[in-house]
Symmetry: C2
Subunit: 334 residues, 2 copies
């Protein structure tokens, strides 16, 4: 039996992971976050504090690791050899929260923030994300891999040492599926990929583009949910993140560094969430109308009752204004 369960009912049809490994009683929510100085499990020398390492990337000269991948100690999903258990209980659906939940410790340096990453360091991180995705694809139960970073405490990070997370899921995330369905409708109607149309239109209007290079551009999303929501998209039609080689991941690392630095310069290094959306791991029928992309959501406002209840968002900053701020700020050249 897995330690967590995926639950869903007929009315909302949104999967919720009931994470028993993280199980919390009321008193656990009342404690203040104890910020006492304890040893950081992600720092070199403390490797025994994490579950056994999945993989590590080491400097050839010194043998020291520069990126380390470990299972999430309080992972919401877990690997098992047994067949996936599914249950129907009346109108409820339950499934073991089978899958992988990994932590990518992206630097050995405790003080280093993602704002300080060089394009080379970012490239190494992206490369590890790609390799872990391809490795998880070998598990036939994993239908999608979702990569994300919670940058800072307000973004949900429980440890301050820089890290990203990678989850292998037995289902396709609802929001990626929503995007795919909308894109398929667009394809049926217009014989064109919605992301290609978006790229054309943004390059026609030129008011929301933040940065660009030969393969990618970053964009203040026209209908961003939060102020300064910024997406990074490939210029050409490219459904999958994980099939990119060095020629793709280098420019992706460069534009990601530049975009993060612009956000940091304009907004004084805000906490933010970052995540990847990529076409489904296995089903290639959606490739003709989907682009992989990165979404960056700075934490500047709060999600409140309106957003929780409607699924709509109130954004106090026009994306054209956000783009102008991000474009115009001076940042140090690499």
């Amino acid at each position: 039996m897995s330690k967590s369960t995926l639950r869903r009912d007929l009315i909302v049809r949104r999967w919720v992971v009931v994470a028993e490994e993280r199980s919390k009683r009321p008193s656990d929510f009342l404690k203040k976050n104890d910020k006492e100085l304890k040893i950081c499990p992600f720092c070199p020398g403390n490797e025994q504090e994490t579950p056994p390492e999945i993989t590590a990337y080491r400097r050839k000269d010194s043998g020291l690791w520069y990126i380390r991948v470990v299972p999430n100690k309080f992972g919401a999903f877990s690997i098992s050899e047994n067949p996936l258990e599914r249950k129907k209980i009346g109108i409820f659906r339950e499934m073991e929260a089978r899958g992988a939940h990994e932590v990518i410790i992206s630097t050995p340096q405790h003080e280093k923030r993602i704002y300080d990453f060089s394009p080379d360091e970012m490239y190494e991180l992206l490369w590890v994300c790609k390799e872990r995705t391809l490795d998880l694809k070998n598990d036939p139960l994993i239908e999608s891999v979702f990569i994300f970073g919670n940058e800072g405490e307000d973004a949900g990070a429980s440890l301050e040492h820089e890290h990203w997370q990678l989850v292998g899921l037995p289902v396709i995330p609802k929001l990626i599926w929503d995007e795919i369905e909308a894109c398929r409708e667009c394809w049926d109607r217009d014989d064109n990929c919605a992301f290609c149309l978006l790229t054309q239109q943004e390059y026609g209007e030129k008011v929301r583009i933040v940065a660009e290079n030969e393969h990618f551009f970053s964009l203040s999303k026209y209908d961003g949910r939060v102020p300064f929501e910024t997406w990074i998209l490939p210029l050409a039609h490219r459904p999958l993140f994980e099939d990119g080689g060095e020629k793709i991941l280098r420019p992706l690392a460069e534009i990601l560094c530049e975009t993060i630095q612009r956000i940091g310069a304009v907004l004084n290094r805000p906490d933010f969430n970052i995540f990847f959306h990529s076409a489904p791991l296995r089903d290639r029928t959606h490739d003709r109308y989907y682009h992989f992309h990165l979404e960056i959501l700075p934490i500047l406002t709060r999600v409140a009752g309106f957003e929780w209840g409607t699924g709509f968002y109130i954004n106090p900053t026009r994306s054209e204004d956000a783009a102008a701020f991000l474009r115009d700020i001076k940042i140090e050249t690499k």
Copy 2:
């Protein structure tokens, strides 16, 4: 021209209100919330600090108001006599953020929290919500009315004086529409209302029910997004909130008070979001498979990258455990 705009693109199809009345530059996000003691615009004596009052409910003896409804000074939606402007800009859709955005000041007492409301006071508040909904229904441009409360600063309240908000929207909220579509599928498949099935099943299992009276029950939702997410549902098939008379709104007020007090007792009066989901204002075809209900989401955890990117949630508390805590706690009898 309205001061805000609804924006949507073809890819995600989620409306975002770009609220120019609340327009924010980067420096606005850097300021700390200044909690200096200024006069509270919602307190008696300061009525001139709000926009002109829409309506007020006054004590017969003293003439003093006990509930006051005013337009939201920084409203995301605004009323206009002009025809609704809609625009297509390539793959983008734009619409004036036409509608109403009202504040219901639910008590004249500055220090009173919703945890302290008596069933009588709650009943008055629900009655005002019903009357405002029926009044807004007279505006043919308003397709739905959404009522919500941000209880406390962490829930998004910008003023501490107790208040709820009511928004009249020119569209039906995405999440209500998602529920309706799932319920229609259930109806087509099972010839039954999904909410009626849910009620039957919960009364069969009896492990997630928190409180009940002759017309309503409150429930730790099987697939709650957040710990201690609690819904209040009518026992009988009842699609609309606003057609309830005193016989319905009295027991609703009672169970709402009791449920809020139980949450307050178990979790030490946490901040929370509360909102109503009710069938569409005008279209009666969905009534046979929809129930109005209230959702209460205590703020105990953070929405992070996983939730933002997947639309799934990780909940560290089983709803059966939450229900047991809420059911078993002693609260003062009314």
